[in-house]
Every structure is written in C-alpha cells, then in structure tokens.
C-alpha cells in the first residue's frame, strides 16, 4: 500500500477506535448491571399515585403524567429481575407460574380491568385491587415494582404508555373485546 492510502487507513482506524471507546464509556457509565438498571431515574415518589384509575369525572382535565413510561423500558435485565420477584413474592400463587391466571386474572392477554399501560400496572401492584390483589406498595420498594411491571410488559399483553385510554377496559371489558376503548395491545398485529 502506498503512503497516502496507508495514512488514510490508519486515520480511519484510529477514529473508529477512539469513537468506539468513547461510546463504550458513555454507554456503560452509571450502569451497574441490567437487572438493577442503576442509571434509570425513577419517577418521583408520588407521581404514579396521581394518575387516576378509570374514567373518573374530571380525569380528562388532569394534567398528570398518565403516560408515565416505565423507567426500565427496553431494559431486558429489569424484566428478568421482575420474573425472579414474580416467583419469589408468590405472584404465581394467584396468577399462575406462566402468568396465565388462576385465582387471579391472566396477565398475558390484552384485557386489563384496571388498565394495561405501565403506570396502570404499577398502580395495580402498588395499591392493590378489589377481590384479592394485595397492596405491595409499602412492602416492596418502587424499584422492585417497576421491575415487576417490566416483566409483565414482557409477556406481551400490555399497552404502550401513550394508549392510556385504550388500555383500560374496566368492568365492561368482560363483555367482549373491542366495544369499549378498543385499542391494540402489544400482542395484536
């Protein structure tokens, strides 16, 4: 190779290496390990609480972050950790080991009585729900509940944060799909 070509190749290689190294440092700093998603900033401690359940009067006027995203979005490790918590906290006892339901509802379909967006799932776990869902909000730290939410989202039946209304069928959802607030869950094509 002649001199100019050689210099060009060396320059390109050096640029690629320097750029790659810098990118690596930026990507990995502040991230301890996927399961904890240490770099993800959790929403402030009261934010999910202010998201209303259901079509309460006045909810439409609320300027609340009802499309609060899961801070662990895209974090495969958080879903794995959520799976571990799901087994250890005995969610499987009511919802089944594959979350297909038992005493409690199926978590893999796109029917969500109290809403299927991440923040709605979070609230359901945190606050508990009628007919037997315990309130985990004080027993588990917020971090762990978001991890559980990640796991449930990974099962495919949840709704994206933007589809807050579409994701909530309420009790009327029992009467068949598509009538009330029919939206597309992650499983639908």
């Amino acid at each position: 190779m002649d001199g100019i070509a050689r210099t060009a190749v060396v320059a390109v290689a050096a640029a690629v290496i320097a750029g790659g190294g810098t990118a690596w440092v930026m990507e990995t700093t502040g991230r301890s390990h996927p399961p904890q998603g240490g770099g993800a900033a959790l929403p402030p401690e009261g934010a999910p609480a202010r998201v209303p359940i259901g079509d309460l009067a006045g909810a439409a006027q609320a300027s609340l972050p009802d499309n609060l995203p899961n801070p662990f979005e895209g974090n495969a490790g958080a879903a794995e950790e959520g799976h571990r918590l799901y087994d250890r906290m005995n969610c499987a006892g009511c919802h089944g080991y594959k979350a297909k339901g038992g005493m409690g509802p199926d978590l893999t379909d796109n029917h969500w009585r109290y809403g299927g967006t991440p923040v709605q799932i979070y609230k359901s776990i945190y606050e508990g729900r009628p007919k037997g869902m315990p309130a985990w909000g004080r027993a588990l730290p917020s971090n762990s509940i978001w991890q559980l939410t990640s796991y449930i989202e990974s099962l495919g039946g949840s709704f994206p944060p933007a589809q807050y209304h579409a994701g909530m069928q309420g009790d009327l959802g029992d009467q068949g799909a598509g009538t009330q607030g029919a939206g597309k869950g992650k499983n639908d094509k």
């Binding site: 790659g20 990118a23 990995t28 700093t29 991230r31 495969a76 794995e80 799976h83």
Partner: protein, 642 residues
C-alpha cells in the same frame, strides 16, 4: 558470511516469473491478493492492532486495581473489560500472530512458491478480520461480552445476562472458528504436500513442526467450542435447554466442551512460538539446534498429552476423585516434553557461541520466562494445591508468564529476526536492546508479584478488593510494571515503523542463518524461488561448514515451473516430487465469501432471518464460483533448470 548469488536465472526468465506471480496493482490487487507474503503481513499487522487494543483494556483495569476499593470503573465496565481483554488476546492476537509468521515463512522455509491453497489462505485472513470486528461490534453500544473469555453458564444464559453481549460472543467465536479451521487445514496440507524435493520430514524447521502440530490439533479442538457456542446461542435465542438448569440442562457440559477445546488451544498458541525460538536461537549461537529430533517429537508429544489434561481447569467443580487424579497426573507429566525443549535450548547456547543481537536477547530471556511459567503451571497441576490456587491471581501470573513469555517474547524476537527478510531493512539495534530490557523488566515487575498476591489469597476477576486483604501495595507495583511493559512494546513498534523507512539495508542473509528463506532476496520476489531447490539437510546454507552431510543442497539447479503459477508437489514423508500443482491467481472470491459469511452472522445476531437467508444464498453462489471446473490441463513434463 557466505553469499549466495540470488540471480541464477537470466533476467528475462526472472522477469517472466515475477510477472506471473505478482499481485495485480491498485485496489483490485489489494482486495484480491492471494500472495502468502502479503497475507502473512496482514495477519501480523492486524494481530498487533488487537494486541494494542487488548493492552489498553488491560492498562485501564490495572489503573482500577492499583489501590483497594477504587471506583474508577463500575463493576459492569470492569467485567466487560476483562472479558474482552481475554477474548482479544487469546483469540484475536495470540494465534493470528503466529499464523502471520507461519503464512509468511512456510513456503520460504519449505522451498515452495505458495501455500497449498492460496485462495483459502486469503479467506482465512478475511474471516479473521471480519470476525474480529464482529466481536467488537458490541463495544460502542456498551454491550461487549461480559461473561469472561471462558463464558461459564448459567451466568451467561439469557436469564442472567440478557443483553446482546453473549450473543456476540457465541456467534463471534463460531465465526472466528471458521477462519481457524480453514487456516489449519491449509497448513496441514501445505506441510504434507508442498515441500521442496528432498526436504524430508526430519529436515523441516521446528517452526513448521510447531505450526503443523498446532493446526492438526485445532482441527480436532475447535469444533468443541463451536458446538458449545452454538448450543448456548440456541438456548439464548430459542429457549432450548442445553445449559439451562430448570430444563434439566447441565452447566458442567459447557465447561467440558469449552476446556476440551481450550486446553489444546493454549498449546496451539505456544508450540509455534517455541518453534520460532528453536529456529532462531541456533542462528545466534552459531550452531544447529541440539537434539532436533527430540525437540520435534517433544512438540508433538506435548500436543497429544495436551488433549488429555483439560479437566485441570475444573478441579474444584466436585468431580469424582478418580477423574481428578488422572488429570492431575497427566497435567504434571506434560512437563516432561517441555523439559526436553528447555534443555535443548540451554545446551545450544552452552555449546554454541552466542551473538548478542536483539533477537538473541528475546530468545534467551524467553527461556527463563518459559521455566517460571512452567513451574507455576506445575504447581497448579497438583489438584490438591490447585484447590487453593485456582481462581486466584496465582493463575493469572501463570497464564501471563506462559502466554506472554512463550508467545509474545518469541514473537518480538521473531519480528527483529525476520524483519530484514520481510522489508529488506535492518531494525535499529540500540533501540532493540532498550526495548528488550524495558519489556523484560516491566513484564517481571508486573507479573511476578501476581504470584505473591495469589498466594496471599487475592481472587481473580474482581473489580476491586478491600484494603484488609493486604494486597494493595503489590497491586500498585504491578500496575507500574504493566505500564513499563507497555512502553517496551511500544518501543518495538516504533522501531518497526522507523526502520521501515530509515533502517539500514539488509542483504539476503544478514544473520548468516542456515535455512532456505535466507537464500532469496530481502524482500523475496513474488515467486519466492526462481528455481525450486533440492534439499539435502536441515541447514542448506550451512552445509559447507558442517561435516556431517556429504551431499549438498542444490539451490541453483532444480525445477523451473514457469508455465503459469506452478509449484511442485511432493510425498509426505520423504518429499519426493510427484506432481505439478497449478496455483490460482488473484481472486475476489475469498473476500466475497467472507463478506457473505459476515452478513450471515450479522443476521443471526439480530434475528433478521431474511438477511441470513440471502447471505447464505450468497455463500453458496460464491462457493459454486470457487469450485467451478477449470479447463483440463494436459500432462506437463517438469523442466529441470541446471
């Protein structure tokens, strides 16, 4: 200094040969070259680049470990660095650099015009380059492999390590394995069939023995790791249960498959470089190697026993006592063939007359490092004491003494030794001596204390350690030594770069060595040999000065083979000529095939099956073109030029 007149042919004949064998100029030639010398140099340059990358990774880790409880690096960062450091050095530097030397030197040492399969040679390089890039593709995304170079399951199952890191590792190793297997097959056939007439199997340089043994071993060992990686990739991508405990898979299966590959592999990393020393040291002792036959046999014996020691990486896993006893005994006994080589080298120096040039310093210093690495290996081979030593810094010390001492130091010596042949210039001798001493002192300063901290209980693969372990002081010294060692390596590279343009001119045989590569010009012409020599001893260029051979090698009379690209094929043991081999010229097919394979693996990585499918079709198309039948050739009678 005996001079050999390089021009034995009239100019017109020589020009015809050169024109036949020359690579086409320009970009096409650069991409399509199948010249083993160019491919050898590419291997060397690329592997040195990976050496530097791996070295930077190591230096960053050493800064983190210089004092206890530092927070320069987070644990995930450190884990990616130590994993990538191991993968880079062991897979992307240590074997390819030896492939580089072997590729460049074998035909010149064996009296041949090229390797047996020139296009396959080019393919193995392109596959190596692309698989190396593939293994690094996750780095900018913060997804470099992070399970260690050994990648134990279940930690690297999807459940505990869900990112892309390990998929890159598994697919990348399978990808690299293709390059290794292809290259190994090429070496084996080259050795058995393309030596110069008269170069019987006991007249070959020890480097050739070393690479041959390593290549034969790789053909048997690489499939084990490719299989293990494939199985892990299936587990991670499709939920199979090879290694997943809940699905009745077994973690130890990975370890057996990996180490059944891994142990023969590390011998493949050191036997060729021991061959470099066995060939180079005698030149600087002004006598042939003591015990050639013993050393050649020791090389093969080490490799054979090396297939039956892999469990010594698993002494602590709870295997039955009978198994552990057998593997411990085998691991201790494997030191015997190594002892043969060590005493052969010392005897060569003792009974010879040392010439204190830079290559000699590297080759002699290597002997001490070899022995230190060997005895620390002997200590870990004892299963009972290994239960304390394994997974501590003692093993880190051992592996660096054997890998750097037995691979890197001879490689550096080999660079000083063969640089004149490759470039036609000498490297600077004074800078060479400085670079050796800097490397030697820095290396021992960095790695010797690791024995001590290992005996004090410092475990390995840790991103930090508490102050109460009492190893902070040694670690600081180790870090300082590491930087000094790195400086020494840089000095060698600076020497190379400066000497390329300003080195003193070198003739065909500046060291007055005895083997065939020193009988051609520096750098060699594209056809290597104008006339294929007929060989009568191990040291064709020293025959006049040694009394035990009556015959003389014929360097000025032999086969001309100038009707197109041709070389002679000979029988495996005694090298009697029996066929003329037609060699392919420049071809883009190796590059195209490597590109297709890259897309295939990229598709598998991202689960883009369509891409992989199209790439696979591309692979088949290239292979069809590759094997397309050539027009039949009439019988030719080889002309002897006398």
């Amino acid at each position: 200094m005996a001079t050999i007149a390089p021009e034995r042919l009239p100019a017109a004949e020589r020009e015809k040969l050169t024109a036949t064998w020359e690579t086409a100029p320009g970009l096409f030639g650069w991409f399509a070259s199948v010249d083993h010398k160019q491919i050898g140099i590419r291997y060397l340059v690329t592997s040195i680049v990976f050496l530097l990358l791996g070295g930077v990774e190591a230096l960053v880790m050493r800064v983190q470990l210089a004092q206890p409880m530092q927070r320069l690096l987070g644990p995930e960062q450190y884990d990616q660095l130590f994993s990538l450091h191991g993968v880079t050095m062991i897979f992307l530097y240590a074997l390819p650099v030896l492939s580089g030397f072997s590729n460049y030197l074998w035909p010149l040492m064996l009296g041949s015009r090229d390797m047996a399969f020139p296009r396959l040679n080019a393919l193995s390089y392109w596959l190596y380059l692309f698989s190396g890039l593939f293994l690094y593709v996750g780095l900018p995304l913060g997804q470099a492999p992070n399970g260690g170079w050994f990648n134990y399951v279940p930690y690297t199952n999807r459940q505990y390590d869900p990112g892309m890191n390990i998929d890159i590792y598994t697919l990348g190793l399978i990808f690299l394995g293709i390059s290794t297997v292809v290259g190994s097959a090429n070496f084996v056939v080259t050795l058995l069939r393309t030596r110069a007439p008269g170069m019987s199997i006991n007249r070959m340089p020890i480097l050739v023995w070393g690479t041959f043994t390593a290549s034969a071993a790789n053909l048997l060992a690489v499939p084990a790791v490719s299989l293990a990686c494939f199985m892990l990739w299936l587990d991670r991508s499709f939920g199979t249960h090879f290694f997943d405990v809940e699905g009745h898979g077994h973690p130890l299966l990975w370890q057996h498959l990996f180490w059944a590959f891994g142990h023969p592999w590390v011998y493949a990393l050191v036997l060729p470089s021991m061959g470099i020393v066995s060939d180079g040291l005698p030149v600087f002792c002004r006598r042939p190697l003591v015990g050639y036959t013993a050393v050649a046999l020791a090389t093969v014996t080490t490799m054979v026993i090396g297939f039956s020691v892999w469990v010594h990486h698993m002494f602590a896993t709870g295997l039955p006592a009978m198994a552990i006893s057998f593997f411990s005994a085998a691991s201790i006994i494997i030191a015997i063939p190594s002892a043969i080589s060590v005493f052969a080298w010392i005897a060569t120096i003792w009974t010879g007359r040392p010439v204190f040039k830079t290559p000699f310093l590297f080759f002699a210093g290597f002997i001490l490092l070899f022995v230190i690495g060997g005895v620390s290996g002997f200590m870990t081979a004892s299963a009972a004491f290994d239960w304390q030593l394994t997974d501590t810094y003692f093993v880190v010390a051992h592996l660096h003494y054997v890998l750097l001492g037995i691979n890197l130091f001879p490689v550096m010596g080999g660079i000083y030794y063969w640089f004149p042949k490759m470039s036609g210039r000498m490297m600077d001798e004074r800078l060479g001596r400085w670079s050796f001493w800097t490397m030697f002192v820095g290396f021992n300063l960095a790695f010797f204390p690791m024995h001590i901290v290992g005996l004090e209980g410092m475990p390995r693969r840790i991103y930090t350690y508490p102050a109460e372990l009492g190893v902070g002081g040694w670690n600081l010294l180790i870090t300082v030594g590491a930087f000094l060692f790195a400086a020494g390596i840089l000095m060698v590279l600076v020497n190379v770069l400066v000497s390329l343009s300003r080195g003193a001119e070198a003739g065909p045989n500046p060291w007055d060595a005895g083997t065939l590569e020193w009988s051609v010009s520096s750098p060699p012409p594209p056809q290597n040999f104008d006339i294929i020599p007929i060989v009568a001893s191990r040291h064709p260029l020293w025959e006049d000065r040694l009394e035990d051979v009556d015959e003389r090698s014929q360097l000025g009379r032999g086969y001309l083979l100038d009707r197109g690209r041709e070389t002679i094929g000979t029988t495996p043991m005694d090298a009697e000529p029996n066929v003329i081999l037609r060699m392919p010229g420049d071809s883009l097919l190796p590059l195209l095939l490597a590109i297709a394979v890259t897309f295939l693996f990229a598709g598998l990585l991202g689960h883009w099956w369509i891409v992989s499918g199209i790439a696979f079709a591309g692979v088949l198309a290239v292979l069809i073109a590759w094997f397309a039948p050539q027009p039949p050739v009439g019988d030719e009678k080889a002309r002897l030029y006398a």
